[in-house]
């Protein structure tokens, strides 16, 4: 995936590293010999071969290292020719020549030998590439590279890195590199290095200090422990914030899953056991959209938002017209019938699409995390879902409070006969409301496709939680659902570290049961005459 960045500064470094200028290229191609030495079973020999490539100064070395890192550098078994695999799925792979980078047609995977690497070699390659990245123009790339090098510097890098630091314009890169050098010095027993590492929340710095704290030299051990105490204190605050974020994020998932149910169950009073499957349909819509727009996962995801809403809303209308309207006022039958619908939908997906989970790709802007400081970073996909949940909630509040549909829904649910007498078409309102609730479930599915598995069982995992949130928050109250979802999420995440995931779930469930015993109408009970109905 990495693009070839500028070669020239990288080359400069390669020369700096060893002060070695390549001899004029002799006979055939020296590249063949360099690659040949990689084709060995022994990882120690491979490591030496990689070192040889780095120091060779060959201008193709960067590409080779990158392809080797990606597992794309392969050797044709019979001819010994080295190729780079362009696409390694399926039986026959398009390849290019590893020496000339010219197109070399297709080769069967039977005939190719992959140059395998293990994690140790991967580390070596990543450091080598990171060193080259320090010379790029892009500040973000340089910071990334400096972070990568933290904790993995050895003696050969010290001198070149000092020169890099001297020329570096960005303070962050300088700081990271100096920290890295300090870790290196600490590992060689330099006690002054500890002062430079004080207060850093980076986990590699902590790892270095922790091993220094176990050092035989009492002076170093004490100094490292003291520095660690300080770091631990800062970390405690950060981890508190982190837990809060985890809780809000889990809560936002619960809110998303439950908010559609808050409309169909809370406002309309229909127990829809197929709610989870409507979520699933939303998630599958995202998958289908990504299949339609290959290579553009971001755009597909954005388009899935309206599409997921529509698909789930249409399915909701079908369920309402096909099943629920005939069972008005008979909750038990509704429950059983919609449970049947949920099984039908699950098996339908299994038969039509596949019983296997589907891959939904996260767009780049949703992968990774947003670094607040070195001890606290917020994962981006969850940050987006949190925001999305709030937007959906606000949108739904707007619909219910400010539009004619919302007004009619409230009128019909409060007093159906009176509303009809006022000229509201109650049946149409039923359909619209159910479609709205279902559509929102579809939106939840689009969001969940970024967090969890997209498979036939997706809905089942959320249906119980959804009912729990709605009941806890107070049936018929959207604010209640929001508060209940977020607070259950936070409670769960606070409990989890010391109770374990299994027990935390049980404790939350017991808590809700006790709470409902005390306040049967939930956190925010409906007030007024509507509550009696």
């Amino acid at each position: 995936m990495r693009m070839i960045r500028s070669f020239v500064p990288g080359l400069l470094l390669l020369f700096l590293l060893v002060g070695f200028v390549p001899v004029a290229q002799a006979q055939d191609d020296p590249g063949q010999a360099l690659l040949e030495s990689l084709a060995t079973e022994s990882y120690a020999e491979k490591s030496e071969a990689i070192e040889a490539i780095i120091t060779s100064g060959d201008e193709r070395s960067r590409r080779w290292l990158e392809e080797l890192l990606d597992g794309k550098l392969q050797r044709h078994k019979d001819s010994g020719r080295f190729v780079i695999v362009v696409e390694n799925r399926g039986r026959s792979w398009p390849v290019i020549d590893a020496l000339s980078f010219d197109d070399a047609g297709e080769m069967s995977r039977r005939d190719l030998d992959r140059i395998g690497i293990n994690n140790a070699l991967r580390g070596q390659l990543q450091s080598a590439l990171a060193v080259l990245d320090l010379y790029t123009d892009d500040v973000d790339d340089r910071r990334e590279a400096a972070r990568e090098l933290l904790g993995s510097m050895d003696a050969t890098l010290v001198e070149p890195l000092r020169e890099v630091i001297a020329d570096e314009g960005d303070a962050e890169v300088r700081r990271l590199l100096e920290q890295g050098l300090a870790i290196h010095r600490l590992s060689e027993g330099d006690i002054d290095a500890i002062a430079e590492l004080e207060g850093s929340l980076n986990s590699r710095v902590r790892a270095a200090l922790n091993s220094a704290a176990r050092s035989d030299d009492p002076l170093i051990a004490d100094a490292a422990s003291a520095a660690l105490d300080d770091i631990e204190q800062k970390r405690r605050l950060n981890s508190g914030l982190e837990t809060l974020y985890f809780g809000l994020s889990l809560g936002s998932v619960l809110v998303l899953a439950a908010i559609g149910l808050a409309i169909t169950f809370g406002v309309m009073g229909v127990i829809n056991m197929a709610h989870g499957e409507l979520i699933m349909l939303g998630a599958y819509t995202t998958w289908a959209m990504q299949q339609l727009l290959p290579g553009q996962p971001g755009l597909a995801l954005v388009l899935s938002i309206p599409a997921g809403f529509l698909v789930a809303a249409l399915a909701g209308i079908a369920i309402e017209r096909g099943v629920i309207q005939f069972l008005k006022g008979r909750p038990l039958e509704t429950l059983l019938a919609t449970f049947g619908v949920s099984l039908i939908l699950q098996q339908l997906v299994r038969t039509v699409i596949s019983p296997q989970n589907r891959t939904v790709v996260s767009p780049d802007w949703m992968s990774g995390s947003l670094m607040i400081n070195e001890g606290l970073s917020l994962t981006l996909n969850r940050l987006f879902v949190l925001g999305f949940a709030l937007v959906v909630f606000a949108g739904l509040m707007l619909v219910m409070r400010r539009t004619r549909l919302g007004l009619e829904v409230r009128a019909v649910t409060q007093n159906r006969a009176m509303a009809r007498a006022m000229g509201i078409r109650a049946t149409r309102v039923d359909i619209m409301t159910f479609a709205l609730g279902s559509g929102v479930a579809g939106l939840a599915g689009v969001a969940l496709s970024q967090l969890t598995n997209v498979g036939p069982n997706l809905g089942q995992n959320y249906i119980i939680d959804s009912f729990m949130v709605v009941v806890f928050g107070g049936v018929g109250n959207l604010w209640g659902t929001l508060v209940a979802g977020l607070s259950l999420g936070v409670i769960n995440q606070v409990l989890e570290p010391w109770a374990g995931a299994v027990l935390a779930k049980i404790i939350v469930l017991v808590f809700i049961i006790l709470f409902i015993q005390k306040r049967p109408r939930g956190l925010f009970p409906q007030k007024g005459r509507a509550a009696e109905g």
Binding site: R114, G116, N119, S203, T243, Q347, S369, L451, N457, A501
Partner: protein
């Protein structure tokens, strides 16, 4: 009650059947050999088990093309236990009592196997179980073609300790019998063999289908920044792995910092994941699709042709069925009959080629010999093999690292014929073995 009418009907039926048999020579001179397939085609486990059903059907088709077995055609009898553990027992009874199948290939989860076990033993059936499991079991009627802990977990831990230099261990698993037993074995092994201190082992269990991994991953990250090389040994089951790995990627834990070695993640599971952030994480199996042998490529080609899907993947339990099916066929040929007791005796010692270029032999304890491979995840959802045992390892039914289980051996040959023989007490101890397994 009405034998005469039944008799009459069957006589009437026999006439066209006989004439049909005369018409087609060679095959179908006798009744077909019935092969029962007991894999979930719906419910949670359908994701893993449907391919195994297809695998056995493909193997039966191939065998029939080769002329069947003992001159008889093979016929698959497929039932769907729907990921419902008690239903597994009912369906097994249906296969053995009503369909009268000669052999069953089936089950995935340990709890479903435990549910089927009494039925297979009562009705004297044959069951081939293709999935890696926790051990501590050896039944006369079950053949375990998946890995026992000493064929997967122990070698993987050895690799991490010896080659990667891991000193701190996170044992993370789904909360059920396989991870709990495996982790108990591993904990004892780490403490006894490598002298790992208690504070250097973190054990964590999560429910089935767990999807919110934020806190646990954050804990692992914290646990791993104590200055000692840390690894995660994961017995997390099935699709809970996807959000787990995704969270690892998002919190910036890569394989060079904290490698995760998984025992339940194979090619099939990776088809549901964008593997780019997972590159370098490990899995321990006895087979990988990327194994570079001609038998393997032939198997893959046959599988692709059978499924008609150019991107179809193969995995370890499929190889286990491939081995188990061929072993059974070989034993039937050797015994000259499909009669259960004869096949049971004949199969011990049978060796058939596996897909990794060697042979798998059935041991007297009903486990088989397997090579152990460690692979690293690649960006195309395949594994690159980084290490393998120099020779095959024989499956050990009773772990040597658990109190009460280490004295037990299993040997189903005559005259011992015992699945849990206590070498210290010199007796075949039924009840004790159960207690040891707890």
């Amino acid at each position: 009650m009405i034998p005469s009418s039944v008799y009459r009907t069957s006589r009437w039926l026999a006439v066209p059947l006989l004439s049909a048999a005369v018409a087609t020579p060679a095959l179908a001179q006798e009744d077909p050999i019935k092969v029962g397939i007991l894999h979930s085609l719906s419910g949670t486990m359908a994701i893993s088990e449907t391919v195994l059903k297809d695998t056995v059907e493909m193997l039966i088709e191939q065998q029939n093309e080769k002329g069947g077995l003992l001159g008889r055609e093979l016929e698959a009898v497929v039932v769907d236990p729907a990921s419902d553990w008690p239903l597994f027992a009912e369906k097994a009874r249906e296969l053995l009592a009503q369909e009268e199948v000669d052999v069953i290939f089936g089950n995935w989860t340990s709890v479903s196997r435990k549910s089927v076990l009494p039925v297979v033993e009562e009705l004297n059936g044959l069951l081939f179980y293709p999935v890696q499991y926790e051990g501590e079991e050896s039944s006369e009627n079950v053949f375990y073609t998946g890995a026992a802990p000493n064929q997967q977990a122990i070698p993987a831990v050895n690799y991490l300790h010896d080659r990667v230099g891991v000193e701190r261990w996170v044992l993370a698993g789904t909360d059920y019998v396989y991870p709990r037993t495996t982790n108990k074995i591993l904990e004892a092994y780490l403490q006894d063999e490598f002298g790992v201190a208690e504070e250097d082992i973190m054990i964590n269990y999560t429910p089935f289908g767990h999807s919110d991994w934020q806190n646990i991953v954050s804990e692992i990250k914290d646990f791993g920044s104590q200055g000692k090389k840390t690894a995660v040994v994961s017995t997390i089951n099935g699709d809970a792995n996807v959000p787990f790995y995704r969270e690892l990627g998002n919190q910036g834990i890569n394989a060079s910092d904290i490698p995760v070695v998984a025992f339940s993640v194979g090619e099939q599971e990776l088809t549901g994941i964008d593997t780019a952030p997972l590159v370098g994480h490990l899995a321990a199996w006895n087979y990988f699709m990327s194994v570079d042998t001609d038998t393997n490529y032939d198997f893959i080609d046959a599988w692709i042709d059978y499924t008609g899907d150019e991107m179809a993947v193969t995995n370890d339990p499929m190889e286990a069925h491939y081995i188990g099916f061929n072993m059974w066929a070989e034993a039937v040929r050797k015994a000259g009959t499909t009669e259960v007791d004869a096949v049971k005796d004949a199969i011990i010692g049978v060796a058939v080629p596996n897909l990794t270029g060697g042979y798998a032999a059935m041991m007297p304890n009903h486990h088989i010999t397997k090579p152990v491979l460690i692979g690293e995840i690649q960006d195309n959802g395949q594994f690159s093999i980084v290490w393998e045992t120099p020779s095959t390892v024989a499956g050990d039914a009773w772990s040597d690292y658990l109190e009460g289980s280490r004295d037990l051996i299993s040997d189903w040959r005559k005259p011992m014929e015992c699945g849990n023989y206590n070498v210290v007490e010199g007796s075949c101890g039924g009840g004790q073995a159960d207690a040891a397994a707890e």
